[in-house]
Amino acid sequence: MVTVAAARDPQLPTHWFNILHDRPQYVTSAVPRSRLPEEVQCAGRGVQLQQPFSLARQSLNTTDRYIPIPGEVLDLYAQYRPTPLRRAVRLEERLGANARIYYKYEGANLTGSHKLNSALAQAYYYARAGVQHIVTGTAAGQWGTALAYACQVMNLGCTVFMVRATLRQKPIRGDMMRLFGAVVHESPSDLTDVGQRVLKEDPAAIGTQAVANAEALALAGQDGESRFAVGSGENSVLLHQTVIGQEAITQLALLGEFPDCVIACMGAGSNFGGIALPVLGAAEDSGRLIRLVAVESAACPKLTRGRYRYDLSDALGTTPITKVYSLGSSYVPPPVYAGGLRHHSAGPLASAMYADGSLEAMDIDQLTSFRAGLLFCETEGILPAPESAHAVAGMMDVVSRHPRQEPPLVVLVNISGHGLLDLDAYRRFGAGEIEPVTANETNLSQSLSALEEFNQAIAEPVEAT
């Protein structure tokens, strides 16, 4: 299908790490649709696969700890992997940290983020299954850009619904996707019923990932050649991202290190899972303790302020209704620059990990993240994406709390993408033009109430005795 001539580095993993083998309790389960309110059900509809079977079954696999990466995907990974692992020595000095800070940098590939790891894998499986066209939703545009490129590599058509707020913040993201042959629509749009409904309620609606995904699902359902794909949250997506953590373990081992703490930002969980899950597995193998810290946006604090409930992932309720930490699907986060952290819920796997105490969470406000991102740029020569800047800020918080009398903390942080398309945001921050942004409290309260009502409505009926 694709011919690539790049030598595979020995540090490039040949398998994805599957946490479901070690922790089968994380396999996602969903509420039977027969229990859903009528407005979410679609009587007379059939069932069909959105994802190719071999891709979808990865989300349920509890048998194999390691799943082979197809050779064609490995060849494509070899074009940009292994990604660099570096020690942030100058940042350590600036912070006066009692820590050795290592970071994995995922922003150096053509599309600028970790999202390419799953986009290439997914496009491979869709192409092999005979799908002609993939439709998706994207928030900050990193997933949309990666999928547009992957589709071009695999000779697939690609349509992307991008959240209006972020497409207007950084229209160049849309230009990149079009450069790779994708058709890009601002969401909400008038192309779908759900988009029209949102625009009718509020013509100035800024959009959400849930609406963008719902529009993508609606368009994908209009013909037999197209299918919907998703860039985070699904277990299979986290699986594809585990090349990050596996490489980091190997690279750190060459330095005689193993992390005490792994930190990444949390949208729905793909970059977090990608770096944290293999380290968790390796720590358990060797009897080590490990801290995993997920950093979310204060504008969308799904873990720190959300509730562990069954909830819709897309605005139509088309996708499975799974148990997640959520702020409610009607929550519309303020338009922060870290658009990739605006999804109202964490994915099922990350949520299950938070519920059983396997990960910690903290929320970071936008100004703190930009400050941390600029410091990282000054000291390390890399401008992190606004999402990744949240991880840097979270890491700085963790390091600052580490007691001086203790041995130095070994920290691994994921810089999931570059911020070169966010220069305007950083400029505005430097000019003092960006206001602090926190959660929309009124909307949040209403959304959480609606989430509770929804869960009462779908509760399993108690049989009379």
Binding site: P32, A43, G44, R45, G46, V47, F53, L60, P320, E460
Partner: protein, 99 residues
């Protein structure tokens, strides 16, 4: 059933066997589903509440029970409405009787 080369090949399923296999797989894929309440006319989505995750779970179950690998390209184009459609599918994909 034994073949000439000593390997085991399952005979082609009849409708009753296929239905039984499907009912068992549905019960495994959909929590709280009672086999005795199933019939072929029920809609997978509307009556049984099956979503895409449940469908994948069901296919994994069927693949295991039939001991036959399911191919992406064969499954990507199908849309099933009723339990009867599913029984038809199982009849189609079950391993053929020894030739």
């Amino acid at each position: 059933m034994a073949t000439g080369d000593g390997s085991e090949v399952r005979p082609e399923l009849d409708r009753r066997q296929a239905r039984s296999l499907v009912f068992d797989a549905l019960a495994a894929a959909i929590p709280s589903l009672r086999i005795e309440a199933l019939d072929e006319q029920q809609e997978l989505y509307g009556d049984l509440g099956m979503d895409s995750l449940g469908f994948v779970t069901l296919l994994v179950e069927l693949e295991s029970k039939l001991d036959v690998p399911l191919a992406d390209e064969d499954l990507m184009t199908i849309e099933l409405f009723s339990v009867a459609d599913l029984v038809d599918l199982v009849e189609r994909i079950s391993p053929p009787a020894a030739k």
